[in-house]
Structure formats: structure tokens, C-alpha cells
């Protein structure tokens, strides 16, 4: 599909999935192989369709948050935060600064855990168990901190409309614990990163494969660290009001290969630590939630947020009774898919899974229903599907 104008003769097709030892999430990879060189790659993501956008339709907006958080288990806070940012933007609800700071703190903590999962996964694919285990061990300290703030390791449920849950307010002792833990973490993590970069075996496995040039990254809409590893300095955080008070850098890398995608994420963790430290030290006093709002009719509003894998979009409108209409979610992975497929082409077949893993796919939350008709594919909205087929029995 992505190989361009010239048609290539294919010797063999390798097909993995949906449940395959090489893959944890249910998705299907088709590799078209010519003499062990990948000529084309196709990712089929449609294995976990839950109809989640349709579930929102007609719910009161407060209850929608419960479902929005459960779109994805790795980036749960992002979905919860962005779903409330839509209504806060649309109805002009003020959010207290203290609530914004705590949202940012939780966001950056979860960003670190998400990037560490990638290292665990990528190094397991490489075959280096020790690095994978060390990254899982490092991750535990931040899972603990998230559970101290929100009460659950995976679903902290911090944001509500107009602020944060009062339970998630940071006490003085918790602030001290966070600062101590991130100092401890940074020391261990520096050693870990130095160990990775100095390891000639791992580096020789990562360097020079999975090329994605800047032009291709922009052409195929690679977002987030995948795009930044190709030298494209696009970060939604630089445009957001919530991140205005904090000083951080956007990490980019010009080398465009699998190593760059790992290194960009490794360095982003230091920026996240910087943001957490600033936020905890300068945490303003005051209330954490603004309850003086009413759900009323709202136009179709869109909010963008930098999730851990790239740009995330949530948008919906409210009808006159404050119920949700036309919820749309676009997660970063569907926009990255074409870039992933393109990055695999031209490499040896053993590198394909590593290249896809280094782009950090999260395939549960990106599933769309799709009809493939005579080579052309187009995406149907949920409403069109129900109109055409009815609810599946």
C-alpha cells in the first residue's frame, strides 16, 4: 500500500496475529517479504472493537468521564483530562491553578511510566532481558506515586469537570515524598540510560534500521516522539495554557532511526522530571475544584493534548439537557500507523517487529470500524455502521 508507484513482485507473505507469541496486543501484521527483505507491511488494527464512541452518546457529561478514562489503560489520565478540557473550553469553566498543577504532575508521572513500558517492550524484542527488567523495576516507583495521588495504580481518576477530585489534592507530606522519590529515581535512571548508550551490542542492534525521514514523517503524519525522532519539533505542550508556567525543552533527534526513537523517549523522561519538580515546588495555594458550573447546550468543541505517543483529540457537543452528542476520539496511534508501516520497508524481516515496537503502538484505543471495498478503504462513522448493519447480535 505504501510502497509507491512501482509494483514489486512478492515471494512470500508472513502474517502474524491476532494472538501471537510475538505480539501482546491483538493486532495483525502482514509482512510482504522478498528474500528476507520487507517490501511492504500492513498493520490491521481492527481486533478489539468495543464501540466506545457510541457508548458516550446520550450520557450525562459527568458520567462520560468514567468511560473516557477507560479508553486506554496506559494513558488513562490523558483521556480523562482531555475529555474535561473539551467542556471547560466550550462552556468557559474556570479551573483553579492548583488543580491545573496537579493535573500536570499526574500527566508527567504517567508519561514516565508509559515511556518505561516502551523500553521494557523494546528490549524484550531485542532479547536483552536485563534492561527490560530494570525498566520495569524503575517503573514501579512511579506507579506507587500515582497510587498515592489518585488511589489506583492504573486508573487514578484525578480530573473532574472544573478541577480535580479533592482526594487527589497533594498534602505537604506527599509533596515531600514525591520530591524524594524523583531524586532517587533520577539517580538510578541516569545509570540505566548511560548503561544502554554505552552498550555496544544493543546499540549495534538499534542503529541504522527503521529509517523515517523528516519529509516522510510529515507526509505520513507521525506525531509525538515518533515524529520528533525524525527531526520534526512538534509538541502540543508548547501551545497549551496549562504548560505555560513550566520551563522545559522539546527533544528532537536528526538521526531518524530506531535508536533515535528510543533516545528521544529516554531524554523526554528528564524533561518530565523537570516539570514535576517545578510543579511540586511552586504549587499554588487555593481551592482544587470549581463547582459553580451548569451543563447547558454546547457546540461541537475540540481539545488537543500531547499524549505520551503524540497528539490526542477529543471532541463532542452537548444538547440542551447537558447530554453528550457525537463523541469523537482520535488517539495518536492511528496517525502513526502509516509511518510505522513505512519505517519497516527495506529492512531485514527480523527488524520489523522491533521497528514497530520502537514507534510505541497502543492498539487497543485506536480501533476503527472500516469497510474495504475494491482496494479503496474508507472509515465509517459509528452512526453509519449502525444504520447499515444494526447492532450486532
Amino acid at each position: 500500500m505504501t510502497s509507491g508507484e512501482k509494483r514489486v513482485e512478492i515471494e512470500k507473505e508472513l502474517s502474524f496475529g491476532p494472538v501471537h507469541p510475538a505480539l501482546i496486543e491483538p493486532y495483525r501484521i502482514r509482512l510482504f517479504v522478498n528474500d528476507e527483505i520487507v517490501e511492504d507491511c500492513e498493520l490491521n488494527i481492527n481486533m478489539a472493537y468495543r464501540g466506545i464512541e457510541k457508548l458516550f452518546d446520550g450520557l450525562p457529561v459527568e458520567r462520560a468521564l468514567l468511560i473516557a478514562e477507560r479508553v486506554c489503560g496506559i494513558c488513562s489520565h490523558v483521556h480523562a483530562w482531555n475529555s474535561v478540557r473539551v467542556i471547560e473550553g466550550g462552556l468557559k469553566i474556570d479551573v483553579p491553578p492548583r488543580a491545573n498543577y496537579i493535573r500536570v504532575i499526574t500527566q508527567e508521572m504517567q508519561r514516565i511510566t508509559s515511556h518505561l513500558i516502551l523500553f521494557g517492550h523494546a528490549f524484550e524484542v531485542v532479547g536483552h532481558e536485563t534492561f527490560a527488567m530494570r525498566s520495569f523495576l524503575l517503573r514501579e516507583s512511579f506507579m506507587d506515586l500515582i497510587s498515592y495521588v489518585g488511589g489506583n495504580r492504573v486508573m487514578p481518576s484525578v480530573p473532574i469537570i472544573g478541577g480535580i477530585r479533592p482526594r487527589a489534592d497533594l498534602t505537604e507530606s506527599l509533596k515531600r515524598v514525591i520530591l524524594e522519590r524523583i531524586d532517587e529515581f533520577e539517580e538510578k535512571y541516569k545509570g540505566y540510560v548511560a548503561r544502554i548508550i554505552e552498550d555496544p551490542l544493543v546499540m549495534s542492534r538499534l542503529t541504522g534500521i527503521g529509517f523515517l525521514t523528516k519529509e516522510d514523517a510529515i507526509k505520513f503524519h507521525a506525531t509525538g516522539p515518533t515524529g520528533r525522532a525524525s527531526g520534526w519539533d512538534y509538541d502540543v505542550r508548547t501551545k497549551m495554557d496549562e504548560y505555560k508556567p513550566f520551563d522545559f525543552n522539546v527533544i528532537t533527534d536528526e538521526s531518524c532511526d530506531t535508536k533515535a526513537r528510543i533516545v528521544v523517549r529516554a531524554l523526554e523522561i528528564f524533561e518530565s522530571l523537570k516539570i514535576i519538580r517545578q510543579a511540586v515546588k511552586n504549587l499554588p495555594e487555593g481551592p482544587v475544584v470549581n463547582r459553580s458550573w451548569r451543563a447547558e447546550e454546547m457546540d461541537f468543541t475540540t481539545a488537543l493534548l500531547e499524549a505520551y505517543r503524540g497528539e490526542l483529540m477529543h471532541s463532542y457537543g452537548l444538547d440542551s439537557q447537558g447530554r453528550i452528542r457525537n463523541y469523537k476520539i482520535r488517539t495518536p496511534t492511528p496517525t502513526n500507523l502509516a509511518a510505522m508501516e513505512h519505517a519497516c520497508i527495506g529492512d531485514h524481516v527480523t527488524e520489523a517487529i522491533l521497528t514497530i515496537a520502537s514507534c510505541d503502538p497502543c492498539l487497543t484505543c485506536c480501533t476503527r470500524a472500516e469497510i474495504v471495498d475494491s482496494g479503496k478503504s474508507f472509515v465509517l462513522s459509528d452512526l453509519e455502521i449502525i444504520r447499515k448493519y444494526g447492532w450486532r447480535k
Partner: protein
């Protein structure tokens, strides 16, 4: 404990079948078995991706309709005696995806709970359950395997 049970106890293989939830439980399960903090491998409980060598099947997630047939196939290819542990609120009762719906009644896009597809021995509730709970669930499924003839 007879010889058979002793030898079985020394190599419990766990397989994770992920059927389309939100990834949270899946990572917690892999955490429970693999990660250095909740290391179950030290008690010789091993993670495998091959159903033919598995003893315990851990199922997480709502069962999306594309995953029904693969799940049945995986269950059939596990040799007897076998135990099934359903982990997470999605696998136990469908969680928000099944019940909390607005205009349109129950969501028929998903087949949760897992019980409707394959028999389940132990259920571990929670969204997402802690790794300790997952370990406790697997331990509860063990007597069925050890005491089988």
C-alpha cells in the same frame, strides 16, 4: 501430595490471553509474573505464549467479537488439567463497556463476561486489579490442576 502433583507444582505455566480491554490489566498481569517487584518466577510460575504448554489461562478484557473464535481455539488447545482465571472487571462482568450505556441499551459489540465463551474457575475483580490480587487468583486456581488425576 503425590508424585504427579509435586512435579506439576514445580512448573506452572501461565498464558495471558488478551481479548480487547484497555491494556491496563494486561500490563498488571505481565508485571505480576515478570517484574522484579512481584516476581512470581521465583516460585517457578512461568509466563508462556504457547497454549500447548500452559496450565493456567489468564483472560483479561472484554471479549470483542473478533476475539471469540481465537479464545475458544486457545482454550481447546490447552491440555487437561487446566484452569482459567478471569482478571479485571471487564472479564468478570463487562465493566463500563457493557452496563453504563445511554440511549441504546446494552452494548452488543462485546461478548463480556468471559464466562459466556469459555468456563471460568476464578474471578479477580477490580479496575485494574493489583498484581497481588492477580497472584492470589492464580494460586486459587492451582488446587484444581494439582489434584486432577
Amino acid at each position: 501430595m503425590n508424585l504427579k502433583a509435586t512435579s506439576r507444582k514445580n512448573a506452572i505455566h501461565v498464558m495471558v490471553a488478551y481479548t480487547g480491554g484497555c491494556n491496563g490489566c494486561d500490563i498488571e498481569i505481565v508485571n505480576a509474573v515478570l517484574s522484579p517487584r512481584y516476581d512470581v518466577e521465583q516460585y517457578r510460575v512461568l509466563l508462556t505464549w504457547n497454549p500447548r504448554e500452559a496450565d493456567v489461562l489468564i483472560v483479561s478484557g472484554v471479549v470483542a467479537w473478533q476475539m471469540v473464535e481465537p479464545l475458544k481455539k486457545i482454550y481447546d488447545s490447552i491440555p487437561e488439567p487446566k484452569g482459567v482465571v478471569a482478571v479485571g472487571a471487564c472479564a468478570v462482568n463487562g465493566n463500563v463497556y457493557k452496563n453504563l450505556v445511554g440511549d441504546i441499551g446494552q452494548n452488543e459489540e462485546i461478548w463480556a463476561p468471559v464466562e459466556t465463551v469459555i468456563p471460568v474457575d476464578v474471578k479477580v475483580p477490580g479496575c485494574a486489579p493489583r498484581p497481588e490480587d492477580v497472584i492470589a487468583g492464580v494460586v486459587k486456581a492451582l488446587p484444581k490442576i494439582l489434584e486432577a488425576p
